[in-house]
Symmetry: C2
């Protein structure tokens, strides 16, 4: 699915939203830093960014302003990355303070700031950034913030000067932190870094993309660059949830329900994990320091689009795209009738689950439960991963547990189309070594089905391929009179092919009809999207090439020898001559061709029904 155009429905919705709240006056532009007081309170922008990088922007989306406190969760994330959660936890708590953003709010005794969203906690976080000197730490800061924006960000020198010369209260906080040993050296460098992070210039589009980077597990949705390790996303969003909107955080969770951070520059960044980033800009603030229109817009967005992260309806937990058994859908290997019958009877002993989306506890548990309920006769479970985007560590462990169970029960788990590059990274770590034979990875779903079929037939299929089928045993000759068979024999040419040889080539005219005496061949088509796909694998006693012969035109598929192959060919001219020479033979062959084709129609219809069940 290629995504290349924004939805006009959503664009129109956002434009209505902008018009609706453009009249919402009230609130005041921040004045405690002189430079901020210059902002124009009429400016207004809303931007949504999806986790696959689509942007919806309305209003002054490219107007620059400064990040201010919105930098706090991002710098906290950088501190987690640079120093690890234990070290950071010793310096900064995670409890909401219930106090205003610029309160000192240090824990009695330890002097640890209550959380990283108040100024004290943010200064402590800035002090934890890695770097040999101030320049290196500043580079680290700008790199971290720029990765979230997906473009190089810069500091607004005027705002920084203004912050630095008027930040007396923050300077007091810095010295309190020094007093308690939270900041171990002179607090000035950490304060300077903090004033700089507040003065980083962004626009509303940057905010939405920063939020979308958090929503996307730390990877920027457009550049693909990781801004922060995935393991720190939960902690960052947690502190945004409980402390991100100052002493309005409880109300915010209640009314909006999105982890968020506001800044006195007028921005709000809000995150719907796994789905969406939101940026809103409007510089008039309420008494708590949050953008008046920003809060109103987020509340409306959450209500209108159903974004509250705790609200029903429940998110889709369905990871199952299709479920069927080998009785309904089989591999492309055609088998002699007695084997087909055995597979029809035994097919319920192999269940196929085509999975979809992300595998995690809640999506995999119903599948495991279905397997547990399948009854003692189950021998194979196939899990197809083609449409699985991600499997978390819990899902990998659950699969390992399933394999261990299967090994003990004499069952087999077949995992098909597991993409390379870490989709099941770490699989095997908790696998009992004796369980290894109970799991098989197969590159194609079709091959996984065939693997199960072989198991159900206990190797009978492989043996059959070795055994030559003489002319009277050929499927196409069923029902022919002995004289017709002799007539046919006289017109056949016996051909031999090495494994891998191309017997029939796509695009060529029909050179005859083939009867397979010994060995196996596969009929292969090229796919429009590239790559190839086997349509059938045939074994001794089966025929190919008849359809082009009857219908005319060019061969539609390649036929390749999978093993050493012996086959008879009835040439085009010899086939045509049967019409006058020996009509009864031709009628007999056509009847058998029609019967075979009808069986294929029934089989394919059955597969389509099974897939839609």
């Amino acid at each position: 699915m290629t995504m290349h155009a924004p939805s006009s429905t959503l664009q129109a919705y956002l434009e209505r939203l902008l018009r609706r709240f453009a009249d919402l006056d009230g609130g005041r532009v921040a004045t405690y830093i002189p430079e901020l007081a210059k902002a124009d309170p009429r400016r207004f922008a809303i931007v949504l960014a999806t986790v696959d990088g689509q942007l919806y922007e309305v209003g002054d989306a490219r107007l620059p302003f400064t990040l201010q406190s919105i930098s706090k969760p991002l710098v906290y994330g950088a501190a987690l990355q640079d120093r690890g959660p234990e070290r950071v936890a010793r310096a900064i708590g995670v409890e909401p303070s219930g106090d205003a953003f610029n309160s000192i709010s240090l824990e009695p005794g330890s002097g640890r700031p209550r959380n990283p969203m108040i100024n004290a906690g943010a200064i402590a976080a800035a002090a934890l950034l890695q770097g040999d000197d101030g320049e290196a730490r500043l580079a680290r800061l700008l790199d971290a913030l720029s990765a979230y924006a997906g473009r190089p960000l810069e500091i607004d020198a005027a705002v920084f000067e203004s912050e630095r010369t008027t930040g007396h209260r923050n300077r007091a906080i810095g010295h309190m932190l020094r007093n308690y040993g939270i900041v171990s050296d002179d607090p000035e460098p950490a304060l300077e870094l903090y004033f700089k992070q507040c003065s980083v210039r962004v626009d509303c589009r940057d905010l939405a993309l920063m939020a979308a980077t958090l929503a996307n597990g730390g990877v920027h949705p457009q550049t693909g660059v990781r801004a922060v390790a995935a393991e720190h996303i939960g902690p960052i969003l947690s502190v945004m949830t409980t402390c991100g909107m100052y002493d309005f955080s409880g109300e915010w969770v209640y009314r909006v329900g999105l982890p968020a951070k506001s800044g006195v520059g007028g921005g709000i960044m809000a995150v719907l994990p796994g789905q969406l980033g939101i940026g809103v800009y409007s510089p008039a603030l309420d008494e708590r320091g949050n953008s008046v229109r920003g809060v109103a817009v987020c509340e409306a967005l959450s209500r209108d689009l159903g974004l509250h992260f705790l609200q029903p309806p429940r998110p889709a937990v369905m990871a199952l795209r299709a479920r069927y058994t080998l009785a309904g859908v089989r591999s492309k290997r055609r088998r002699p009738p007695e084997q087909e019958r055995r597979l029809e009877q035994q097919g319920d002993r192999a269940i196929v689950y085509e999975l979809q989306g992300d595998l995690r506890f809640a999506t995999l548990e119903p599948v495991l439960r279905d397997i547990a309920g399948a009854g003692a006769e189950l021998r194979f479970a196939v899990l197809d991963f083609k449409r699985v985007g991600h499997a978390d560590a819990a899902a990998v462990r659950m699969l390992e547990g399933l394999v261990n169970d299967f090994a003990a029960q004499g069952r087999h788990l077949v995992l098909t189309r597991v993409r390379r590059g870490g989709l099941l990274a770490g699989f095997g770590a908790e696998l009992d070594p004796r369980s290894a034979p109970a799991v098989s990875f197969q590159p194609q779903l079709d091959l996984g089905l065939e693997w199960c079929e072989r198991g159900l037939l206990d190797g009978a299929g492989a043996a059959a391929a070795q055994h030559p089928r003489e002319l009277a045993e050929q499927g196409l000759c069923a029902g022919l009179a002995a004289e017709d068979i002799e007539h046919l024999r006289a017109r056949l040419q016996l051909l031999r092919f090495e494994p891998g040889a191309l017997i029939v080539r796509r695009g060529e005219p029909a050179d005859g009809l083939y009867l397979l005496r010994r060995g196996e061949v596969s009929v292969i088509i090229e796919l429009p999207q590239g790559g190839s796909r086997r349509l059938q694998t045939l074994s001794a006693g089966m025929s190919f090439g008849e359809l082009t012969l009857v219908s005319g035109g060019a061969r539609s598929a390649d036929v390749r020898a999978d093993t050493a192959v012996e086959c008879w060919r009835l040439g085009t001219a010899e086939f045509a001559a049967l019409h006058s020479e020996r009509p009864s033979l031709l009628i007999g062959l056509l009847r058998q061709m029609l019967r075979g084709s009808s069986e294929t129609v029934v089989r394919l219809s059955g597969e389509l029904t099974a897939l839609d069940a």
Copy 2:
């Protein structure tokens, strides 16, 4: 997918978890109420309940204890239901207090309790329950809590007596609330109700099911009974998130990341919205009043099973099961070759989206975006709802917006298999009345495809059905010599059927081969799971009944007249006689049958490929 057995992998995991934390001593059983002090600190239970009602229980899962503060979010929900959010918000705030659970924590000025999870807020919530007298309010309370448990709950009289006689601090809180007018009458009845809700007897299994009821949008996963309106779930889970674990709530969100509530009885109930409910019981408490083992177990569960509600990887947002165009998959209506060619060329103008799971903003937006990117030639979009479990209000509004856009663009939206009973409840409310012709509901996906085909052919299909096809124009007669056609004509019987008549009956032996002169018929099979499905719809010039005739055996499907029908029948005996009478005619017919069957094989293979693309 029937779910009838727990997964042994998960059961084994929980047993390991229980053993691992059974050694975690420390903490003390609550003693501030004498009756609670009798609890045995060695007791321990863990229960998981999925939103589809599967239970995993280990330890003392059926041992009774009292609900205590775990009643608070549930009674808060009952108050929201009885009085509405505005009335409740006037009495109770939603900000975390930062203080201990039994602090008075009233807002300065208004006297409003900070939130419903502290005792003051819970007493205010109890005072809001609907009922004419104390008895009615008690019944309301017990009904509400019992609906969450899925069984009738009762009050532990000894605990209640103990609560009542020792609840001096709570009585003080009650009178403070009276003082501020939060409770308008004598606070005693509200206090009594509050003591009773704390004294309700449950077991750990009840806790897990209560949590699963919240996770499931308010509906008990086993009884199917709604315990609270869906709209109140977001608010309930919000206050649990920000205030549910007393002054450990920030740390809890950080470490565990599940809305939760603990009680001094030793229970913890935790909710993974949309997925899971967790109950843990172990009566030894830490200094904040939370179960020591309960906190440890929830932290381990969240980490091991990846349950943190804000943690990556992102949840599956994929609502798309399959996407294809009419060029790849067509309806079961067979059309004359010139129409088939037109549909092959024009097929990309109709896109089909098979949707899956829940539709909401984040799952529907990529589909709308794909439609927006489809290019100006797009005329039809089909959305198949067979596997859609729920569509929220935002999704319904987005679909309405799409229809309005489509109407302006001269496009059509076809919605197929939308279950009755409110799946798209309210659809149409924001539809421009002029847009109505731009949307079509079709009960079957197949019929939706046919609807688009008719549109692409601009009614040519319907006209073709009226036009009779004489014998020489029949597909089966293509390439036959004139004398062969005359030979055939002499052996045919012309039959007429009313609309709805059964022409061929499943299970009967073949009575001949049918050539359709005028009108339309459908080939229909019965499905194993009940119901029926059309395999094909055929129009004048096409044939049916040939396969059973050639292969023998009984008819595999019904053939029914969709319109008034005229058709020729070539009887079984007459067909058999052709072998000796006129082999050239038989050969010609068999060739055409084989050609038709081969085309069907190609078409069905193409559909299977398109569905797996």
